[in-house]
Symmetry: C3
Subunit: 283 residues, 3 copies
Amino acid sequence: VTVAALVAITAPAIDAVVDAHAALRAKRPLVQALTNTVSSNFVANVLLSAGASPAMVDNPEEAALFAGIADGVLINLGTPTAAQVEAMRLAAAAAQKGGKPWVLDPIAAGGLPWRGQVAAELLKFKPAAVRGNASEIIGLAGLGGGARGVDSSASPEAAVPAAVDLLAHARAVSASGPVDHVVGHIDGRTVLVKIGGGSALLPRVTATGCALGALVAAYMAVAPDSLTGLVSAHVHFSVAAELAEAVASRPGSFAAAFIDALDAVDENSLRSRAKIQPAVLIE
Amino acid sequence: VTVAALVAITAPAIDAVVDAHAALRAKRPLVQALTNTVSSNFVANVLLSAGASPAMVDNPEEAALFAGIADGVLINLGTPTAAQVEAMRLAAAAAQKGGKPWVLDPIAAGGLPWRGQVAAELLKFKPAAVRGNASEIIGLAGLGGGARGVDSSASPEAAVPAAVDLLAHARAVSASGPVDHVVGHIDGRTVLVKIGGGSALLPRVTATGCALGALVAAYMAVAPDSLTGLVSAHVHFSVAAELAEAVASRPGSFAAAFIDALDAVDENSLRSRAKIQPAVLIE
Amino acid sequence: VTVAALVAITAPAIDAVVDAHAALRAKRPLVQALTNTVSSNFVANVLLSAGASPAMVDNPEEAALFAGIADGVLINLGTPTAAQVEAMRLAAAAAQKGGKPWVLDPIAAGGLPWRGQVAAELLKFKPAAVRGNASEIIGLAGLGGGARGVDSSASPEAAVPAAVDLLAHARAVSASGPVDHVVGHIDGRTVLVKIGGGSALLPRVTATGCALGALVAAYMAVAPDSLTGLVSAHVHFSVAAELAEAVASRPGSFAAAFIDALDAVDENSLRSRAKIQPAVLIE
């Protein structure tokens, strides 16, 4: 590894995140979300507050057409129906064809064979990013034929090998948790970026992971590369969670405060609160 | 125009709105909402807080039967599925046949051909009101064969000609925005009523437009005429938004404060805060 | 009735509720919720805050498999689709076969024949509990061939005979209202337990009844018997509503405060606020 490479891999650091955040606010990307019924309202409000524009067009009749209109697409496997799955295939194919970034959130794909098959098919349409909790990342990677199974108590650190495996399909992959683990490429090298912060209240509110996936799709539409977009979404989310935790101590009030905080996040709070560890090379 | 007519067209003024609000609270109309997945929870809470009773019966097996039980029906095209669209046709037909007022919220109907066709068919069942943002009203009117297209940056004022065109199908039509523009009939004359107020935070919360459509359906069930019902719903909504903005400055806390405020709105707040401009004749 | 029996039927009293609550917090049961679109987000947040883990797997492809994974299952008939109904049948059958407790929330089953037929079929799979408002309990019992119809203004007290009838299908049954009425068995005897408290704001927030049904499913997974589980869920819910009402006076802020309060409920608040009347024998 050369000195230049070592310097290079300290990116995406805070400057890149601040730039991506400014681009999000300036461009207000339109995100098409094909997501689960539990999350749809919260996902839309998270996108609106963070600075994007949501549209939940998820039927087979319109999904492909709308993927051509949207700036980014989220596909979340939380509560798939047969019709929604058909829409997901059409939207992912249209996004790939149209050069639009799309994000896969493979909820429970490793543990439930029917949706696991759906997830495996969707990977062929080359998502810009995959975001899940550690178990989901491990489970999704296992669908590719690897030996890894599902472990619901997995830590994000334990999911890194699976995340790297998924880089065969996606340009960047993250495993959420107390410390988010993000993998992607810088100058052709595979790197790992860890992001701390956040709040223990996040997993006490339903659909926060889903909403992060949607925010990833928004950042993918404005960031210069997939790794920067994925890291920026995680940082925006984590800083907002910290701001919310400062004013709310239980899940109901935290949920409202978190929506407020996604709106309140600005360059100052990003610079003062972001906990991005320097990128490290992965062989 | 005679003096009597000039006096007449100053209605529906605040007295009529206050009466409609009192009727809403007294009768608690049952509103059947066939709406999108993003909005269903928020729509139900808005109806409950404002003083109505919600029921989301939206499958083809029960939609027509329930339209005969409900006092008003909302049909919102936000996230239509094939089955829900069939239910919408059945509910609209049953509402028309049973003399129940129903409201069309034509989300994105002008921009997406599949739902545009659905919206055009639904207009045949003669809604009591159509409510949309300016682009949606222009888009819906354009489906009728007119030359108007979709312009996502349209102002409510620009939507007035389209709204008037839609009076061929609906008894009253509104285009929401910073100043809501409502058209309908008084004594056989076509008039325009503008309603100010509201809050810049309303469009920062998802499904507020959908919820306004549902509130229109509730008011249609208790108001003496469609224009009064439509204006009253807009005024109740705008006054509540002002009250909420006084205690909340960001979207998450605003959403909860807005639900509180819909409940808090009373004759005093309506009289002191309503911003209804005198009706003007349209040729 | 012997003295021993009289002592026995004073249970399930507060000690049993406190134990069930401790078990809920210790075990965090996984609840599969097949519920309506209005309620899904709120149900998930209520389960998370109260101390359970939600999963909304409600498609026919996965529902039965997941019922074998979950600790308890909620089936709520609020907005059934044909596909969801098929999933409900499969989940209920799998739950019965696997010895997993499942709960039926028969929304409007007595008033709408299509879902009424669904509810009647589901009863064959022997729910651990049925929870509804008084009209729903009366309506559901009437589906069995009895003479009782639907009365939307029924009081929980009026629903007791219907609830007892339903004990032919379910191990415990509750009718919610200002005073919840719960029937079940202690030592082979049929008893009635009344639970006061709660808040008049509960019915002003949509899906609170649905959320109570989900909490019942969670308690069924950890309580020693169905009556104790059903009573414990009602008590946890009522105490939380009281705590929320102490800090919020309108529906929007109450909803968030209620989620907070479900989390805050502990042994102290249960012992100081629970309003459980001694069980009475029913012939």
